[in-house]
């Protein structure tokens, strides 16, 4: 069992700030100034394009989107277009994958396990789809994945729809997968029975500890970049 930090953000973090924070954490992790760290947060409404930047998967023009309060950002993660917003957790692990640990396949599998086991925790039957990254239930895809390796330190990661406004997903062809339905815990369980964001966040933390075999200690956002004396 190795020791890692887990940071849950109380307030939504704008996408560009989350990118810049991750860049700083990746540099600090590369320099062994901080231990492996997991970020769990929500973004204000934003559509992000992967490095491939295929804007043909945007179904509305950027001005229309801005009028609805949605920013469009190009991201350095892998994968295609996706939507982030309130009611959706995003998990950004900053992990130094050792040379005897998992490569991209193993890491993808681990992220998918986080989504699947979190869903199972709330009684939702969920599964993988062969050849596609993410997690599905019968109603559609509820978790999208896209990440980056910087000298084998991970960034970006996974999104999980708890109770977002699914109407926003009509603005994109999620992950470039044409005809793919998007779902959420609220859609599956019914709005009344859907657990709150806090409850799901705590469950995700427990699942992350199991899937990655880590002992997790809580850290607040303001202390993320403080060098760790124990290293």
């Amino acid at each position: 069992m190795s020791f890692s930090r887990f940071c849950i953000f109380e307030e939504p973090l704008p996408y560009p700030e989350a990118v810049s924070l991750q860049e700083q954490l990746v540099a600090a992790r590369l320099a062994d100034e901080i231990p492996d760290t997991f970020l769990l947060l929500q973004h204000p409404p934003v559509i992000t394009l992967g490095r491939r930047g295929r804007k043909n998967f945007l179904l509305a023009d950027e001005n229309t989107l801005r009028k609805q309060g949605i920013e469009v950002q190009v991201s350095t993660r892998g994968g295609d277009v996706t939507y982030h917003g309130p009611g959706q957790w995003v998990l950004y692990p900053i992990l130094k994958l050792g040379r005897n640990e998992m490569g991209a396949h193993g890491y993808l599998h681990a992220l998918e396990s986080v989504a699947l086991q979190t869903a199972a925790h709330f009684g939702i039957e969920a599964y993988r789809k062969e050849g596609k990254a993410g997690a599905w239930c019968d109603q559609g895809k509820f978790s999208a994945i896209g990440f980056k390796f910087t000298r084998w330190v991970t960034s970006h990661g996974l999104s999980l729809n708890v109770n977002p406004d699914l109407g926003f997903f009509d603005l994109i062809v999620g992950c470039g997968l044409v005809g793919e339905r998007v779902s959420s815990f609220a859609q599956v369980l019914g709005g009344q029975k859907c657990p709150g964001m806090d409850v799901v966040g705590d469950a995700m933390k427990g699942v992350v500890g199991e899937v990655f075999q880590r002992e997790l200690s809580a850290v607040t956002p303001d202390r993320l970049l403080e060098p760790d004396a124990s290293l």
């Binding site: 350095t76 490569g103 000298r151």
Partner: protein
């Protein structure tokens, strides 16, 4: 895992083949195996001048994007355009047809600072 003896290597899993003063660069068989099936490659511009350690290219598999670093300082004189339509060549032949770009080194001495095959092999997990 193949680690050809006649190449130089970096700790970030690039290989360098010195071809009469021009250096061909790619990623190693180990790196491609860790990234799995590659679906997209973003190559540098021909004519770009780079410093050793700069992020100069990106390779991307299903959902993972990974940076490729310049092993040497110099000018990019050629890129492997064939990869745009066939990034899987990197998986199939990482030391051959899967090469990424060619650098004309501005500081050829840097070549001596790279790892030889034995040293690079020492970085890899034991099979």
């Amino acid at each position: 895992m193949q680690v050809p003896e006649d190449l130089k290597y970096t700790e970030s899993h690039e290989w360098v083949r010195n071809e009469e003063g021009l250096c061909k660069v790619g990623i190693t068989e180990f790196a491609q195996s860790q990234l799995a099936d590659l679906t997209f490659v973003d190559l540098p511009e021909v004519g770009a001048s780079v410093s050793a350690g700069d992020e100069v290219a990106v390779v991307e598999s299903v959902k993972a994007a990974s940076d490729v670093y310049a092993p040497l300082s110099g000018e990019i004189v050629e890129v492997n355009d064939a990869l745009s339509d066939a990034p899987e060549k990197i998986n199939e032949d990482s030391f051959g047809e899967g090469w990424l770009f060619v650098i004309r080194p501005s500081e050829p001495g840097e070549l001596d600072g790279l790892l030889d095959a034995a040293a690079y092999r020492g970085l890899l997990p034991e099979e």
